[in-house]
Subunit: 196 residues, 2 copies
């Protein structure tokens, strides 16, 4: 195995759990990257831009490392939803998602001494219709407040979801199987270039 | 809240974890129900039949309880896959699932003093193409051996899955959000009948 430090530029417990599935040693280095985006940006572009910003910020502080940045947004009815500002904002997001299908986009950036690459996956998520009592119940779980779109599919948020189409883990934190394949290819290339 | 004991007729750690999402007190009572089925049975019928058999076996030992039984099979290329018999059987199943889409059916039975009901959900799961090295790696994780179709989507098996269509939790153990709705309706009806 090649000697290249792998760094996850995130402090998300969900992303850290997913990274552990990869059976690769890694460290975490969350960055306070600027999350401002131009208005009218497409969701794919938004998540790839923010993932790259996070990975670059961590890479600047690590020399010989392959850094992974990730960002997730929810797109619903022409709006991009990040993390809710407060309870009222979370309630607004959940009302928007109720009874319809929205898109979850996660962008990944891999930044290393050999270059940068970004990719993105989309998953469609259909919510059950939610009444105000169900929304209040879900807000009371405390889950919405650190999550794009104000829900977490892997917790009590599972109760809100009727079905999905695409990669489940893309909704949880990032598309772990796709990342594994991209990382493997990248590490093989770096190893090859180190030898030849 | 109505006083009716809720019993899960299963010892599956994954189903027990999902039950905990419901915020309802419950006990578990696994049964050694006969899993033999007539040949040529349709997958929906197979999982509903086995779920009902499990729930009835537990209900016979519990008087005033609402018992939940569940059963999952994987259907691929006209075959029904349950738990693999051994490593060779697990390898055979994984080869069958490699690079194609299969169906996961979970049947649920609710058996109580007020009657029986069964329902079923189907989720489509698309696997990445797997080579023999990847199959050997996955067998070595030990995950395949207690799982229908020889994989668990919530563990290292996540690496095998390209995308799904339907309820993710239906693949993990049972459709938890649908079960929550059915249970709520059932408990409300029982409460109503107890009062009137």
């Amino acid at each position: 195995m090649i000697k290249m430090e792998i760094v996850l530029a995130s402090a998300s417990p969900r992303r850290i759990d997913l990274m552990r599935l990869l059976d690769l040693p890694f460290t975490t280095l969350p960055t306070g990257a600027d999350e401002a985006l131009p208005p009218e940006i497409l969701p794919e572009q938004a998540v790839k831009t923010l993932a790259l910003r996070k990975a670059r910020a961590a890479a600047q502080r690590k020399g010989q490392a392959l850094v992974i940045g990730a960002d997730t947004v929810v797109a619903a009815e022409g709006q991009l939803l990040g993390k809710p500002a407060d309870r009222a904002d979370a309630a607004r997001m959940l009302r928007l998602l109720s009874g319809s299908t929205h898109q979850v986009y996660t962008g990944i950036a891999l930044v290393g001494p050999d270059g940068e690459e970004t990719f993105c996956r989309r998953t469609d998520v259909r919510f059950y219709p939610l009444d105000e009592r169900e929304i209040a119940w879900y807000l009371d779980t405390g889950e919405p407040f650190d999550k794009a779109g104000a829900y977490g599919i892997q917790g009590k948020g599972a109760m809100l979801v009727e079905e999905i189409s695409g990669d489940y883990f893309n909704v949880v934190g990032f598309p772990v199987s796709l990342l594994a394949k991209k990382l493997k290819r990248r590490l093989e290339r770096i190893a090859f270039e180190q030898v030849y």
